[in-house]
Amino acid sequence: MPAVPTLPAGPGVGFKPEHFDALAADADAPLAFLEIHAENYMGAGGRPHAQLAALRSRFALSVHGVGLSIGGEAPLDAAHLGRLRTLLDRYAPESFSEHLAWSTHSGEFFNDLLPLPYTARTLARVADHVAQVQDTLGRRMLLENPSTYVRFAESTLAEVDFLHAIVARTGCGLLLDVNNVFVSAVNHGTDPRAYLAEFPLEAVGEIHLGGHDADADETGAPVLIDAHGSAVADPVWTLFAEVIARTGPLPSLIEWDNDVPDWPVLRAQAARAGAVLAAPAHSRAA
């Protein structure tokens, strides 16, 4: 893989078009980078690209795909890979990332990040897909750990072992979504700290933080939903600080995709992430 620039180890936010004017007027925004969803910038022109070009000249950029279906059974969509290549060539972002999930089956796009069993067979397939993405795009990608609501009886590998193996086989990096770690741990009755203790932190190129909703299943057990429609929850901030205490500062992004708040609210979340990143190492995980 050719060397590519990496994101700066500061706070970022997922860019929302409704924040464009406020962001333009906020010369001191506490942001080291912005992230966009790749699929929202696959048109030919118009305002989306005009805004992105203006922002690109000011901020480091992460392009985050939500539709490649890397965990899917079918071969990757060559047309979609081509669109990604065009987008990455156009903006030369510091990072490209996608999900350990699937969204397309038999040619139908399901518009959600769906879970997959963790087996030797799915491991081989995901590794092939990640390698194909990196070969086609000519760069290293980051793969994001998912939030999941169900587990498959056929799974034989722990998710964290699955991710270790993908990194070892493909040389890809990881996007550690700390909210996803917490959501999945609550949903499956496991310990998020045990997961993070085993997570290959040396491969992490970016962190995601986002809000979740709380529900319950038919047995009354809590189910958290990765809704991205609220502030980052306190337990997630705590886990984030614990991770940063181990790794040092990393590019750390606030995701707020639904019920998008006014800019000052999102700005404050980014500033809080920035404060964790800037804190002396011994005081982070208080």
């Binding site: 699929e39 929202n40 696959m42 048109g43 030919a44 022109g45 118009g46 305002r47 989306p48 690209h49 005009a50 939500v66 539709g67 490649l68 279906s69 899917g72 059974e73 969509d77 047309a79 979609h80 669109r83 699937w102 969204s103 397309t104 089956h105 038999s106 040619g107 139908e108 796009f109 399901f110 518009n111 959600d112 769906l114 997959l116 069993p117 609501y149 169900v150 587990r151 498959f152 009886a153 056929e154 799974s155 949903n187 529900d215 319950a216 299943d217 038919e218 047995t219 057990a221 189910v223 939903i225």
Partner: protein, 246 residues
């Protein structure tokens, strides 16, 4: 059926039952995925077709959207394109037979999204036309800007759109109308245009020479149509002479 195929099939199943092969209590947990898929796709259609939704009401639109998604599930993760098939679907949708103009309204809204994302191609200035020899005009072929779309209807779609978006009270005369969709800057505009002009411009956009395009349009006010074409900067370039390439 196993693995992801069973999961995908269960996302479609009417009864909402989770697929086989999930560990532990899965009914409400699997329903989260079903709900995410449905809410996301219906929401994409609601965003793209607000006038259709206003005309039929939120509940009817939700049912219509579910039927459409079953018949035309998205094939691409680029959801800006999702709904391109809705006008054709509504043209043969018996529950909305009382609203025969609905497909044309959907066509206008579908064109608006395409215009929003269209390429930023430079437009022909009026001076480019002034330099043409007058006897060359009849054979002139033009490429229209990719944001430009013309929607002609046997229904008063301009008045219906205005009523649906709250810009006008209702329809006065039930006569054919046409709308021009374009994006002069970054904002999409939709404006009424004479039916003859719309037919003329659509023929030009399909590659017909100007003379043939004018002949194709009944009730054409040619000076007014040329004013729309040139003054509206709807063209981006001249095409080589020849027959229409359709």
């Amino acid at each position: 059926m196993a693995g992801l195929a069973a999961f995908a099939a269960a996302l479609h199943a009417e009864d909402g039952a989770p697929p086989p092969g999930l560990a532990g209590p899965a009914v409400r947990r699997f329903a989260i995925y079903r709900n995410n898929v449905a809410v996301g796709l219906i929401g994409a259609l609601e965003t793209r077709f607000p006038a259709v939704r206003a005309l039929v009401g939120a509940d009817f639109f939700g049912a219509l959207a579910r039927d459409f998604i079953r018949a035309h599930p998205p094939a691409s993760p680029v959801l800006a394109q999702f709904g391109d098939a809705l006008p054709g679907f509504l043209a043969d949708f018996p529950p909305a037979a009382d609203l025969p103009y609905l497909a044309d309204i959907a066509a206008v809204e579908a064109a608006r999204t395409r215009a929003y994302h269209a390429a930023d191609t430079p437009r022909l200035a009026a001076s480019a036309f002034a330099a043409l020899p007058p006897d060359a005009l009849g054979d002139l072929r033009l490429a229209l800007h990719p944001a430009v779309a013309l929607i002609r209807s046997v229904h008063p779609i301009a008045d219906i759109m205005a009523a649906a978006t709250g810009a006008a009270a209702g329809v006065e005369d039930w006569t054919p109308q046409a709308l021009l969709v374009d994006r002069p800057g970054f904002d999409v505009v939709t404006r009424p245009i004479a039916c003859g002009t719309a037919t003329f411009l659509a023929a030009l956009g399909a590659g017909h020479p100007l003379g043939a395009a004018a002949a194709a349009a009944d009730d054409l006010d040619l000076p007014a149509a040329l004013a729309d074409l040139v003054g509206g900067a709807l063209a981006i370039g001249f095409l080589p002479p020849g027959a229409a390439v359709l």
